[in-house]
């Protein structure tokens, strides 16, 4: 209902609109992810870029296919499907067969988001649903980490045909977390900081992920309580374990910078859709993730726990929300 050539614009409120719409926030997250992504591609070569693009393609195609026909442009245009595929890609091993990456993208958007009713209705983080699905379905391919190598070399495992045995020709190398867990070898801090270690595509460079997080915080797209709560809890918990037995348990610096800790704490747990609404609830959520991560990493069967920790706390988010609702203004303190 627009007027032609309005001298006096008549329309219902709100008259002043905030600039912070979904597409704007999504693009902010893209910019924040770019440095860490470029670093990942730099270290792991063009194959990493292919994995990333395939994930995004799977996610966007699924979104396009299931969107109502007349709204397809809007659904794709808000950038959330691209972001889901992108985040999923960053959590995958750089030499994952491409068809698996594609299925991951399809599951992430299809099962993780679309069937819940689309953007804003899902309980679980879509990218992590995709990753959990891939890890449960292809456990070997999902834990074959390659060492950072030559930029232009493409691993043949990338082009494995669907459902066929892939030939592994890459230089495999256990990730820092795996080394720590199964062989108790520490990785130098400098490598963890800049990302020159094996691991998932986008999780290796701690410094650039933190920079991205600071950008998001500065743009007010991110609730600082979540990363601070997660990292703080994990640091305190792992420091206690480290002080108990320094040979057996990883120290707080290793806990923070190795594996997907920073990627998960800054970019995945902070998803406004799947994290609690209240401040108190947010703290409970963050502390829960921090404890679960260290618990699964140190005592569990998997070397990495951030994905499961976030999914579990996502599952608890509705409960946290319903128990931390603030008192209605003017109500008495005790009445409930």
């Amino acid at each position: 209902m627009t007027q032609k050539d309005p001298k006096l614009l008549i329309q219902p409120g709100p008259q002043l609109r905030q600039q912070m719409t979904t597409p704007v926030v999504m693009r902010d997250v893209w910019y924040a992810l770019t440095p860490a992504t470029l670093a990942g591609i730099w270290f792991f070569g063009l194959g990493a870029l292919l994995v990333l693009l395939t994930c995004i393609a799977g996610a966007v195609l699924t979104e396009w296919y299931f969107a109502p026909e007349e709204k397809r442009g809007y659904y794709i245009g808000d950038g959330s499907a691209i972001l889901t595929g992108w985040l999923l890609g960053l959590t995958l091993p750089p030499a994952l067969p491409l068809w698996m990456a594609f299925i991951g993208g399809v599951v992430a958007v299809g099962i993780g988001k679309t069937i819940w009713g689309g953007m804003g209705a899902n309980i679980f983080n879509p990218a992590l649903v995709g990753r959990a699905f891939l890890l449960a379905t292809f456990p070997i391919a999902m834990t074959t980490w390659t060492a950072p190598g030559d930029f232009f070399t493409l691993s043949s495992s990338l082009f494995a045909l669907p459902l066929m045995q892939s030939t592994v020709d890459t230089v495999t190398q256990a990730s820092p977390l795996g080394l720590m867990k199964f062989e108790q070898i520490d990785t130098p801090f400098v490598d963890l900081l800049f990302g020159n270690t094996s691991g998932s595509l986008g999780e290796t460079s701690g410094l650039l992920l933190i920079l991205g997080g600071i950008y998001l915080w500065w743009r007010r797209d991110l609730d600082w309580r979540i990363p601070v709560g997660i990292l703080g809890t994990a640091i305190i918990f792992s420091s206690i374990l480290f002080l108990v037995d320094a040979d057996k348990y990883p120290g707080p610096i290793f806990t923070t910078f190795a594996g997907g800790m920073l990627l998960g704490a800054i970019f995945m747990a902070t998803d406004p859709v799947t994290s609690p609404l209240t401040k108190k609830g947010t703290w409970i959520f963050a502390v829960g993730i921090g404890i679960l991560v260290v618990l699964i990493r140190v005592f569990g069967g998997f070397p990495e726990g951030i994905m499961y920790a976030i999914l579990l706390m996502n599952a608890a988010t509705p409960l946290i929300d319903s128990y931390t609702q603030p008192r209605v203004f003017g109500r008495e303190l005790d009445s409930k």
Binding site: I111, T114, I115, W116, G117, G118, A121, I123, F124, V129, A132, F133, A136, L292, L295, I296, F299, G300, G301, F302, G305, M307, Y308, A309, L311, L312, N314, A315, A316, P318, L319, D321, S322
Partner: protein, 193 residues
């Protein structure tokens, strides 16, 4: 970590009856639409499970050593009578709870999770205390799963934004699938220490 503690954590999280063994799915899917009710059902299940473990131990120790072939049928009979007893007690003490649970107390009687508990505890050769802790862990694991499920379902069904195609039972199965994947993270917890 002590043996009893390990049994507890293991049945609570790692080998969760609902999310890892897929036992007790009927109440898990059927009664999980309201938080309050599902929590009460969880409490009832904990209680029934503990009583079941006690009965199973008594049966195993004093009766079944003379007639091992009666194991399955005697478990079923004992569990059924125990649940009938509990139903009567609840009806007398708390009519509200009885109305809230309604049909589901008899449903617990024939629940595979209860029979499964008795058989698992027997097969693993648990003694009295181990069996009781096992039952407590299993019941609390069931409660945890059903309460998480109810929280999610309340939120999602309140918003009611899912495509019409998938609403209802199919969607509950998908939620439980994702929950089950999340619980996979506990696999192997405390097994090395």
């Amino acid at each position: 970590m002590g043996d009893l503690g390990w049994i507890f954590i293991s049945t609570l999280l790692i080998n969760n009856f609902v999310l890892a063994y897929f036992l007790g799915l009927c109440p898990f899917l059927g009664v999980s639409n309201k938080l309050e009710v599902s929590f009460r059902l969880g409490l009832a299940t904990i209680f029934v499970m503990v009583v079941t473990a006690l009965c199973a131990w008594i049966l195993n120790t004093y009766v079944l050593i003379y007639a091992p072939y009666l194991r399955l049928i005697s478990f079923i009979v004992v569990i059924a009578s125990v649940v009938q007893l509990i139903e009567m007690v609840i009806k007398k003490l708390s009519p509200t709870l009885f109305r809230a649970l309604g049909i589901f107390l008899p449903l617990i009687t024939t629940n595979c999770a209860i029979l499964g508990l008795a058989i698992f505890a027997t097969n693993k050769g648990y003694g009295l205390w181990e069996g009781l802790v096992y039952a407590l862990g299993a019941g609390m694991g069931f409660t945890l799963a059903i309460v998480l499920m109810a929280g999610i379902r309340q939120e999602v069904e309140g918003a009611n934004e899912m495509p019409r195609l998938i609403r209802g039972f199919a969607f509950n199965l998908i939620i439980s699938g994702i929950l089950s994947m999340a619980f996979m993270g506990f696999a192997g917890l405390f097994s090395s220490s």
